[in-house]
Symmetry: C2
Subunit: 290 residues, 2 copies
């Protein structure tokens, strides 16, 4: 197994795959990251030299979203035929369309923590979490099977769908919410100083929850908007329509409609399955029994 | 001390005030609630008869928002002059304007849990949490002092402001966010079945956080909209303007503006002070040392 990019996702993949008995080869830009990955037992060999990955059967490309396509292209220049490549980017249509390597399988593990880097990598990050694969008619069936087997080894919940359906769904539940949440903080900034000061004093857990992802890493939000632009705009437009209806119902004092909408939202939220607890922080505890 | 309404807030107030050595008289509509309040040591005497409260110096009215004004009016019919009344409703301008009892002091403790009722009441619920009092030019100074002293006894952070400023601030950080959050769930409902099914599988903690308060009790959301309508509409309009600007920047691929907005929201969120952990569930552990 090869891992290109030993950050939170790549490092956590490496930890689990090594634990499962695979020989893991890791590549990072930083020698210090390579050293940490070896020290933590995440990889058997780590290097800053990409040629190391020529010895792998399956390579996970775990670099930032906007470096995924150029990284796959660079690997394709020297890899032997038949080496399977999968990525972990949160957008799929744009990436799958630009990765012409015949043994490429688009992937997106729906897992993470608020931390970054190899130091934050944890065992079991993918266990019981959705792991999306987005094969197309161009995907080699054996390449898909080999990635599927790795996903199952990780204990993740395999979800097979097409790249555009993936992008629509994550726009709704992951990308558009960043902007929905950020706009609440931006509305606060527009308030006068006295109001903002009082609002800061009175903000409670409800406000903290609603603004959490809007106050996150700006670069990640930008990547989502850039690379999943069409679907983010569709989701935001649908969202704005719903909010405008609520606004209008409150304006018109149509309380029956307001309560009906809130009953619907309460019901819908209950239909989203409960989420597992966050994984333990590094250093991780003993691996959970199978 | 008198407590009218032995729910989560009234019950938690009663527990703390009894612990502090006050003689607490409790009134509830339900005899079973009265029995539970006595059993838990929250009150010295509990009754379904409001006349019990004629013996109190200070009464906290802890009934649902829309019953606050009629409850204060009913108390005013039989209470002796000089008995101080304070409420706990999350809206102040509308209530303060309709409570003509000369010794009334509007109040709003910014505390709570996801539970309801006397059974869910906990000691220390108000400790280190903001507790707003909204005196006006009509407020008796001694009445204000007696409520202030009780708030300080509870270990809460006293915030004095005027009723309209309170309503503007809570509209921004508490009431409007309910609709901002609910609209995200309603946008999900509008999606086709296939998309919604996939979205349910892929929803992560970020979606759970952003939709938490929008999926809450519909009756509470309705009360906020009804009783703080003007300020909720102002906040929602300010919110919609900010979201529309983000939508437009993404449409126009003005990435500099998108990243700048996300940097601003990240900075602003950091300026909201960190929140204390939730109080322990009932049965509560030993009281924290002073």
């Amino acid at each position: 197994m090869g891992i290109l990019g030993l950050g939170l996702i790549g490092g956590s993949l490496a930890l689990d795959l090594s634990q499962l008995g695979y020989q893991v080869l890791g590549v990072s830009l930083q020698t210090t990251t390579c050293a940490l990955a070896c020290q933590r037992g995440a990889v058997r060999v780590a290097s800053t030299d990409w040629q190391l990955l020529a010895g792998a059967d399956l390579i996970f490309v775990c670099v930032p979203l906007d470096q995924t396509v150029p990284s796959v292209a660079r690997l394709a220049e020297f890899l032997p035929e038949g080496v399977v490549i999968s990525d972990v980017a949160s957008v799929k249509a744009d990436i799958v369309a630009h990765c012409s390597w015949p043994w490429f399988v688009g992937g997106h593990p729906m897992a993470g923590t608020a931390q970054q880097g190899m130091g934050a990598a944890v065992q079991g990050l993918f266990r019981d979490r959705p792991y999306v694969l987005t094969p197309t008619v161009m995907t080699d069936p054996e390449a898909l099977i080999s990635v599927q087997m790795a996903v199952q080894d990780l204990g993740a919940k395999l979800v097979l769908t097409d790249p555009v359906a993936h992008d629509r769904a994550v726009a709704l539940v992951s990308h558009a919410p960043v902007f929905v949440s950020a706009a609440l903080l931006l509305a606060g900034v527009q308030a006068d100083t006295e109001l903002l000061g009082l609002a800061r004093q009175l903000a409670s857990t409800g406000f903290a929850d609603t603004t959490r992802i809007g106050g996150g890493n700006p670069e990640l939000g930008l990547l989502m908007a850039r690379h999943n632009r069409a679907q983010v705009l569709v989701s935001l437009a649908a969202y704005q329509t719903q909010l405008q209806k609520l606004h209008q119902a409150i304006t018109e004092e149509d309380w029956a409609q307001v309560v009906q909408a809130l009953q619907t939202s309460q019901r819908v939220r209950g239909e989203f399955s409960p989420l597992p607890p966050a994984p333990p922080p590094y250093p991780a505890g003993p691996r959970r029994a199978e």
